[in-house]
Amino acid sequence: MGTIPISSAAAFATGLKAAVQSVFVYVIFGTFIGYGALCHDLDFSLPWAVASTVLIWAGPAQVIVVTALGSGVPVGEAAIAVTLSGLRLLPMVAALLPLIRTPATRFWHLLLPAHLTAVSMWVESLRIAPKLPRERRIAFCNGLGIGMVVAAVAAAILGFVLAERLPPLFGAAVLFLTPMSFTVSIARNSRELVDRLAFAFGLTLTPMFALAGIDLALLAGGVLAGTLAFAVHRVVAIVREASSEDASASDGAPSPKPGEGP
């Protein structure tokens, strides 16, 4: 076992710092001011607004839950809507955890980073965590996620208290923060062709499925769009391999052995 340059506590603090410096802090602040105000308007208590933010920690699901109560939607229907909106968390968690675990990591070590996984935390973790020593990435992710939750709770409290004084257009503007920030942050993290295609296919296929009245459009559209993007990625990889073999074959030169490149 070699020594690790930074301690767990320092990695946790790095995560907190990354949360504060992330552009998402502004987005989270705006979004959760709106959420706090929504809770106030729909007759929830302030402790409920805080508890729901800590326990659910997923913007779209939280908006569905409060709106459902406000309009008296049946429990079963609301739970199905939340279940569908939460679906994205499975592949997000499955994509993040292999980057941050070590052979010594236990199941329960992963519970907190998995719970803290939300779009904002996921985007920043995928970007920053690989720069840290592997043994400290979980601590980093916990610091990052907890920093973001604290910002969200503070904003929800502020929104709850200010609810009656906020202008009407403000409500529309804070609800727009979620799709706008998701769009640009996903685009920023999509450096490879497969990610860009998945994004573009998802943007177009899911609304078409929803318009056609297909059940579970989000699931069907997402899986199909992601799989199509992956298929293109595979085809491109195979074509590239084949053409590089052709090129070396027609040159009549043996392909260079690894480590023998120019």
Partner: protein
Amino acid sequence: MSTTVRELGPYLALVLVGFLPNEIWRIFGIVVARGINEDSELMVWIRAVATAILAGIIAQLILTPPGALAIVPLMVRLGAVTAGFLAFLVVRRSVFVGVLVGELALVIGASLWPQI
């Protein structure tokens, strides 16, 4: 099915309708992540599906928005998200600039073309 959230009480409703249906996916995510190599092609596919589902959520939030955002006309919502995305591309792929320009476009557009 006909039980309303209000009859359950706010905290039981929070756990049953908000916490559990959401958290279950995170737990499944931990289970699925076991045995996946971070450099494998399976990982590329999982990331592609996550990205596509997120894109679908974005599209739905813009096309059939919740609450107060629905009062802003569809063309203004589409125009604002396009403006924000273009600003992001032009100004050094800055998320901050993208969100700021998108928000400004939405507020200005909603003021110029209020819902008829």
